[in-house]
């Protein structure tokens, strides 16, 4: 016979770690409260008959967030055969608040007392046997991170699920509330006695979701009982119930927990927080951490040592070399077997397209390994808190900072990082503005114009200016979108800060791999498809294969160039550049190379050497038009890989299109303003 056992517990109690240990499943482990929003299922690795379900982290069974509703609905309505309630032994009082509510549901329960190693290190003692006697359910001490006690836990859970012994009837509430519960129960007809007990308590707590399920006839009489109770409890039965639960827990803890020291005990985490969240030091330390993170991922001169590539750059170089060699082999092979020109062209351009993604993959991998480490260590929660003050001014919460910062490297991992944002509105806005942070691939575009058109200006200032335009667009957008989108004001910031822990290698690897896998597969398919399409369009017209100037792409460029008249660059080649930029932004430089009569590799080399690369573009672009063109390509739809990431994280085409639409509109308006404003100066 098979059973379903659900894991329930507070955020950060080690629930996901336990789930991974029990199922061996590949799954995200995070320190952000509420990170497991979806239902996650697996089977117990030592008994395939036992299905395990990882419920979202929840502080109580009263719905506050979407996660809590999911957890509660599952426990109450779908009724697993047993619930394993994980309790963080280091904050047992707060954690038992959920335990009491789970027991109220009457579902067979086993309590897993987690973090027992840390409890012992503090010199505290928890008498699990006594706790078990009082509650009437098994209480098993475990250490989820090391796997200690898990066999005993599962034995107890198996026994509980098959035996279904109810927990003790706990006397938590005072006479008044107990009597009101009994009165309400008399008017309830549906469900098991356990269901009725639970429903009655929730009705007294003023739970609107439950109240709506009542028949009109019941509702009136029950409301009278609730109102009567409210007036006895000076208008707040809910607070009285919460209070009595905590009082009960207080007594329970007194009987079962021996603390080595009373009062406030300063832990290692407290000491670290004094430095890492310090009023003065927090920001400089965070800046240093972020610098190291980026340097390790993107830097060509790692740790300021000229020519020393960072681990990310070094790995990317290896992949590019390997891919180049493979492409060479394929080219040689195809030529040897006498493949036709178009077949060769198609295969090679596809390989280039995939190679562009493959070259990014090591960067993404290194970035995510480091980010996963920071997240699992508990530091990210502090960063969100420290940045909250600054971001609140722009209508965002502190949690948006990480994705936006990562956007300067590459939008794709940045967009994926936005999933750590709890608030739906914050997450959507962050995703919409992340591409405004100028990514690494856009830099060659600015350099190309800077060295060609702005020979006598400070070229660094031109590049810096473009970055600033992106930043300003992002800030203004956060403000505007904050007013436009539904979801109310920026919510108050309240978040549990988990204890600092050195993450296990296994959890960091699982965590990083989850994200990189998605990047490789989804972004790869989008890139691949678009590469084939653009190649076809740029190599053919109705009479067959042709030069680029006569291709479909040129016709399309000519057809759409009128759109850009107000922006100052109504040229088919410029238009085509915008389109090829959507495959990969650095493509624009290569496209210009081909269309303005250069060899693309040489153009890129000249650009990086700071030489005047493409004199021909001065005939098409005025300086103001060049500014407009750079601005437009910075702000308009990001590359397809990033759009794929937006689609995946938004989870809907509607919102993906809205995001892209917003970016296009912003790009057009800002480029228009830039063109006319800069026209006054040049």
């Amino acid at each position: 016979m098979s059973y379903t056992i659900a894991l329930a517990g507070n955020p950060n109690c080690g629930k996901t770690t336990l789930f991974n240990e029990l199922t061996g499943s590949r799954q995200h482990v995070g320190n952000w409260p509420g990170v497991t929003v979806d239902k996650k299922e697996g089977t117990y690795k030592k008994n395939k008959e036992i299905n395990m379900l990882d419920l979202p982290g929840t502080y109580s069974l009263s719905p506050y967030s979407a996660e809590e509703i999911v957890a509660r609905d599952y426990i109450v309505k779908e009724k697993p055969d047993a619930v394993i309630n994980i309790v963080d032994g280091t904050s047992i009082e707060r954690n038992l608040y959920l335990t009491l509510q789970v027991l109220e549901t009457g579902i067979p329960t086993v309590v897993a007392m987690n973090m027992m190693d840390e409890v012992e290190n503090r010199g505290d003692k928890i008498d699990c046997q006594k706790l078990s006697q009082i509650l009437g359910v098994p209480v098993v001490p475990i250490v989820a991170r090391t796997g200690k006690g898990l066999d005993e836990l599962m034995k107890a859970a198996h026994k509980t699920a098959s035996g279904a012994r109810p927990s003790n009837q706990l006397l938590i509430f005072g006479d008044d509330i107990e009597q009101a519960i009994e009165e309400i129960k008399e008017h309830l007809t549906e469900g098991t006695p356990g269901d009725r007990q639970w429903t009655a308590i929730k009705l007294l707590e003023g739970d609107e979701v439950i109240a709506k399920t009542l028949e009109p006839a019941q509702a009136g009489t029950i409301q009278d009982i609730v109102d009567r109770m409210d007036s006895k409890c000076s208008g707040d039965t809910e607070a009285a119930i919460a209070d009595q639960r905590y009082q009960y827990i207080g007594q329970l803890v007194k009987k079962t927990v021996k603390k080595a020291q009373s009062g406030h005990v300063e832990t290692r985490s407290d000491k670290l927080d004094k430095i890492l969240t310090n009023r003065v030091l927090a920001l400089p330390i965070f800046a240093a951490v972020m610098y190291l993170l980026f340097a390790a991922t993107f830097s060509e001169n790692f740790l300021f040592i000229p020519g020393l590539p960072s681990p990310g750059v070094w790995l990317a170089g290896l992949v590019e070399t390997a891919w180049g060699a493979l492409t060479g082999l394929v080219e040689g092979g195809l030529t040897a077997v006498g493949a036709s020109g178009w077949a060769l062209g198609l295969v090679l351009s596809c390989m280039d397209g995939i190679g562009a993604v493959a070259g990014f993959l090591p960067l993404v991998l290194v970035l995510f390994l480091l980010l996963s480490f920071l997240e699992d260590s508990g530091y990210m929660a502090r960063v969100a808190f420290v940045m909250d003050r600054i971001f609140r001014r722009f209508g965002l919460s502190g949690r948006s900072f990480i994705p936006l910062l990562m956007g300067f490297g590459c939008s794709v991992p940045a967009l994926m990082a936005s999933r750590t944002l709890e608030n739906d509105k914050d997450r959507k806005i962050t995703m919409m503005i992340t591409p405004f942070m100028s990514c690494g691939a856009k830099l060659p575009i600015y350099l190309m114009f800077a060295v060609t058109l702005f020979v006598n200006s400070n070229q660094t200032m031109i590049v810096f200016g473009i970055y600033m335009i992106g930043l300003l667009a992002a800030v203004a957008s956060a403000f505007i979108l904050g007013k436009l989108l539904k979801g109310g004001e920026v919510s108050n910031f309240i978040m549990e800060l988990p204890a600092y822990r050195i993450p296990t290698l296994k959890s960091v690897l699982i965590h990083a791999w989850e994200k990189v896998k998605g990047f490789a597969v989804k972004a790869g398919t989008v890139i691949f498809g678009s590469t084939v399409l653009i190649w076809l369009l740029s190599s053919f017209n109705f009479s067959g294969m042709c030069e680029m100037e006569d291709s479909f792409l040129a016709s399309i460029g000519n057809a759409i160039k009128f759109i850009f008249i107000p922006l100052g660059f109504a040229d088919w080649r410029a238009s085509v550049g915008v389109v090829t930029g959507w495959i990969a932004k650095e493509n624009i430089v290569a496209t210009f190379g081909q269309l303005f009569g250069g060899v693309s590799d040489e153009v890129i080399e000249a650009v990086s050497a700071g030489e005047e690369a493409l004199p021909a573009i001065t005939s098409v672009f005025t300086p103001a038009a060049a500014w407009a063109y750079m601005t437009f390509n910075l702000l308009c739809m990001p590359c397809f890989a990033a759009v794929g990431a937006i689609k995946r994280e938004m989870g809907s085409w509607k919102w993906t299109l809205r995001a892209v639409g917003y970016q296009m509109l912003t790009a057009y308006i800002v480029a228009f303003v830039v063109y006319h404003l800069f026209g006054l100066f040049y």
């Binding site: 109580s60 707060r94 607070a239 004094k274 003050r389 309240i494």
Partner: protein, 70 residues
């Protein structure tokens, strides 16, 4: 007085939660009930870090002004 006014290292007792129904419920779930002791472990320009019922909670100053303590 408001919780936001309490200095680092001080322990106070919560006397009132002056917030909307939903936030009140969430605060209660996190251990903030009238009569509960709360220790201020740290503060910065974003807000306060509190110790309550053995857990470490960060909250912004705006919210901390709505929690009364004695």
């Amino acid at each position: 007085m408001a919780l936001a006014m309490v200095g680092i290292g001080e322990t106070r007792t919560i006397t009132e939660l002056r917030v909307k129904e939903e936030m009140k419920r969430h605060l209660q779930d996190l251990g903030f009930t009238v009569g509960e002791k709360v220790y201020v472990a740290g503060e910065n320009s974003s807000g306060l870090i509190l110790k309550i019922k053995g857990a470490r909670i960060a909250l912004n100053r705006g919210l901390a002004t709505k929690i009364s303590v004695a």
